[in-house]
Symmetry: C2
Amino acid sequence: MAVSKARAANPPRSAAVRKTSGAAVPADAGPLQIGELSERLGYLLKRAQLKIFEDFIRCVEPLQLTPAQFSVLLLLDKNPGRNQTEIATTLGILRPNFVAMLDGLESRELCIRIRSTNDRRSHILQLTDKGRAVLARAKKLVAIKHEARLSELLGEDNREALLAMLDKIAREF
Amino acid sequence: MAVSKARAANPPRSAAVRKTSGAAVPADAGPLQIGELSERLGYLLKRAQLKIFEDFIRCVEPLQLTPAQFSVLLLLDKNPGRNQTEIATTLGILRPNFVAMLDGLESRELCIRIRSTNDRRSHILQLTDKGRAVLARAKKLVAIKHEARLSELLGEDNREALLAMLDKIAREF
DNA sequence: TATTGTTATACTCTATAACTATA
DNA sequence: TATAGTTATAGAGTATAACAATA
């Protein structure tokens, strides 16, 4: 949103405010009308995603894993022998940004980089035993605390329908 | 993710890589197995949200409006006489971060701040005629380009079911 | 004393260019 | 020359503390 540019382009705030008298709403007017916002997919997606991420982090809090870190561990487990670029791009993470993320996981000994013998430029990523153990515990916490809560809220059939629609949007839109 | 801390805590990258020979996957092994990721709500929500935001920005490109800016205009239109704090918190925007955003909209003459006569601390926000015109054009573009495409992908009934579930998650989860 | 708008600041995420070592 | 990992950097988004004006 170019904060600094807006800053530079505008006069000091207080000087810019109109002196016109304001037709303010009564102080007790209550909650605002969100109107069509409740039908805007982007808005609802964003709001729902924030809620889900917050809950995920809470549920998996003893393991100190972010949703992104959990995704990496899941992917490494399912895809042994792959390099950084392959893992990163599959998750929509840019290679430069994946470096610090891997540093974090590797310093906690959840995975290791191994220089490939085929192509000495690339690093094969591998879960450690500790990484596998943490992933297993995380999966359990997610299943019994996070996903279960969601099924309770929506019903299992609706939950699956929701996942299917989101997957379709993510792939085909 | 505390990039700088991770940086400081770790030895230089190349020195940290294990010398063990890597069991790399064949170069032509094809796409990765995303496995259980395709059933993780948070992951799918994030991916879908990014797609939807990208498309929104494309559809409304002639007007140069972000989803967040569009939401503000919608809310101002439905809620005349409200101040910055009320609008910001309704959208989940923190008051300090709303200042620069309003600066941008006001410098484009889409809305104005008016000092309230009831309480001279607060600024009543009001759409300008130009703001209303831009909002009207944006609504049209969103309806005929963005939402229509979504209905086509999911079907109108499914689209409504999706919105209802996301709304429920955003409110009740 | 409390609240509104604001400033300053910091941390995370995301994005791009350019370096190095290998190929 | 091209690619993998990395560095540096810049931009958004988000979060908190503190100040001036006003209540």
